[in-house]
């Protein structure tokens, strides 16, 4: 046992192990407290259906947080890109490719603006992205004039609907498959690609990274751009699931998404993080509401327990970090 605790894997994966234990305990509580719900498939299907919408963004946001930056504007980027997707789908009679390319391009453009504001103008990211948060949501309201867009006629039953949100073998929601694939891919980029490596160095110490010949501004800009892209993608997934655009789309995403990243163990100070942790963070944050209600507690407890989870998790990480130093 002692050997196991001192092994290389354990030493280098303390965060991942802690978060996994927290998740296992949580699901054990669900399981023991509400066996009638948690021994059956539908609850898991519901999780697999709903988690990817914010999960995809959380994975992508882990890159930005590892930089020591933050992006608060993604809920509005989801809004504006979904709106554009809806408008183009309905006006082109369901031309998926044009709609997809324009919506994701707009998402990347929005990310580019965030990146430029932070690097070239020098506005702290928390401030810059509050600005763009309001800007893009405002634009959604102006363009949509407060009304929604139904894409059911042009999207339902199409092949793109099928690959985005229909059920694999009639059971597994496709968006969950995508979520798993993207998580794996992003984990690979995060740990083993030059870009992911540079993200860590810039987040760790900007000046040192610069001296080592890393282009700090470019790394930051690309991080914001990819978050713009994945926000758009999450918006498109949501559109296919709901077959409807509504002007507040994306608004509820901010806290759950960032909570998943922080509960997952990525440091707000930058330089250290884990995509796997974020993934587990998504499982925890995304299951709390249903879990709590299934346990027989009233919905009023949801936020309370959510807050408790976040506080406990970040406290554990802070303690691990302090022992290291």
């Amino acid at each position: 046992m002692n050997n196991l605790l001192n092994s290389y894997f354990v030493k280098t994966h303390k965060l991942e192990i802690s978060i996994t234990i927290i998740a296992v305990v949580l699901f054990l509580i669900y399981f023991l407290g509400a066996p009638h719900v948690f021994t059956r498939f539908p609850i898991y299907r519901a999780f697999m259906q709903s988690m990817p919408f914010f999960g995809i963004i959380a994975i992508s946001a882990t890159f930005v947080v590892t930089l020591g930056e933050i992006d608060l504007s993604f809920p509005s980027i989801v809004g504006i890109t979904s709106l554009i997707f809806g408008i183009i789908m309905t006006s082109t009679d369901g031309n998926f490719f044009i709609a997809f390319i324009l919506a994701t391009s707009l998402g990347m453009f929005a990310g580019l603006i965030n990146g430029l504001l932070v690097t070239k103008i020098g506005i702290p990211s928390i401030v810059a992205t509050i600005g763009t948060l309001f800007f893009w949501r405002g634009l959604v309201n102006v363009i949509s004039q407060g009304s929604g867009i139904a894409i059911v006629d042009v999207a339902d039953g199409t092949w793109h609907h099928m690959i985005f949100v229909e059920k694999l073998f009639g059971k597994i929601p496709m968006q969950f498959i995508w979520f798993i694939v993207l998580t794996g891919l992003m984990q690979w980029v995060y740990r083993y690609h030059k870009f992911g490596n540079h993200i860590h160095f810039v987040g760790d110490n900007k000046a040192s990274a610069q001296m080592m010949g890393i282009n700090v501004d470019n790394v930051k800009i690309i991080a914001f751009v990819q978050l713009g892209f994945f926000s758009a993608l999450a918006g498109i997934f949501t559109m296919y699931e709901m077959l409807y655009f509504w002007p507040t789309q994306g608004e509820g995403l901010m806290l759950t998404t960032l909570a998943a990243v922080f509960v997952g163990g990525t440091s707000v100070f930058g330089g250290k993080g884990t995509i796997f942790g974020t993934f587990i963070g998504v499982l925890i944050i995304g299951s709390l509401e249903s879990g709590i209600v299934a346990l027989g507690l009233s919905g009023f407890y949801v936020k309370f327990i959510n807050g408790l989870m976040i506080t406990v998790a970040v406290t554990v990480y802070a303690l691990i970090q302090r022992r290291k130093n």
Binding site: Y8, T12, W188, Y192, H193, K194, F195, N197, H198, H200, F201, D204, N205, A207, S208, A209, M211, M212, G213, I214, G271, K272, K324, N325
Partner: protein, 255 residues
């Protein structure tokens, strides 16, 4: 006859109206260790930043291996064979050593994915062969955070040796180090000569400078005001020169 490695000719550098370097001419030969000395604000740091590509001079010529060059970026100067060893500042604390050693010039495949195996193997070589770390406590997977100042400096040196640079630029390599660690660093500098590599370094401590360098270039307010070979000057004389300069420098201003 010593072979010339780097020559700066009539280098001027202004920051706005401030003339930081005025008509600087220096030469560094192969296998030679040159110390830049001078007071704060003499232009030492600016001069080495011109060499490493951080700053471009306003005018003047740079020759490297007897060819005229324009050094426009850190990447370019590295490619030519100039390696800067900044203090521990140029390492990132929370990252593993094998990542630090290759930061900014990772070993990757054509898709940009890191060859972790190779990086770790090469890093291991650097730790054992170039730096001479024998301690089992430090591995390629160690985080920089746990290293002492001297060990960090050692990693920075090892990195520059590994990349086979011809000229190593050292910005105050002994600042903030313990006596023992300083000794190690000075030994590194002396060791460079055995590999026929050149070095240029800045240090405030004349004792360190005297022990490690072959030649001393004294800068004052952006100008080279003196140049001595170690054979021609004792440590005490060098100290005297610096004191003189300090005083005569004031006289100069009155002129």
């Amino acid at each position: 006859m010593a072979e010339e490695l780097l020559k700066l000719q009539n280098i001027y550098k202004n920051f706005g109206n401030v003339k930081v370097l005025k008509d600087v001419n220096i030469k560094i030969n192969k296998g030679e260790v040159v110390a830049l000395i001078g007071d704060n604000g003499a232009g030492k740091s600016t001069l080495i930043k011109v060499i490493t590509g951080v700053h471009s001079p306003n005018s003047g010529k740079v020759f490297f291996k007897e060819k005229e060059v324009q050094i426009k970026s850190v990447a370019q100067s590295r490619k030519m064979g100039i390696e800067a060893v900044y203090q521990e500042r140029a390492l990132c604390d929370q990252q593993e050593l094998y990542r630090n050693i290759f930061a900014g010039r990772e070993i990757t495949n054509s898709f940009g994915f890191l060859d972790i195996k190779k990086q770790r193997k090469e890093a291991e070589k650097i730790l054992r062969d170039y730096i001479g770390f024998t301690s089992k406590a430090i591995t390629v997977d160690s985080h920089v955070m746990g290293l002492s100042g001297g060990e960090k400096q050692g990693v920075a040196f090892g990195r520059s040796l590994y990349f086979n640079s011809d000229l190593i630029v050292l910005d105050e390599p002994t600042m903030g180090l313990s006596i023992q660690e300083t000794e190690k660093v000075l030994n590194f500098v002396k060791g460079l000569k055995n590999e026929n590599k050149s070095a240029i370094f800045i240090d405030h401590n004349i004792i360190h400078v005297y022990g490690a360098a072959d030649r001393f270039i004294i800068l004052d307010r952006g100008e080279v005001v003196g140049e001595f070979n170690k054979e021609d000057i004792t440590r005490e004389e060098l100290v005297q020169k610096m004191i003189q300069l300090h005083e005569s420098g004031k006289i100069k201003v009155e002129e």
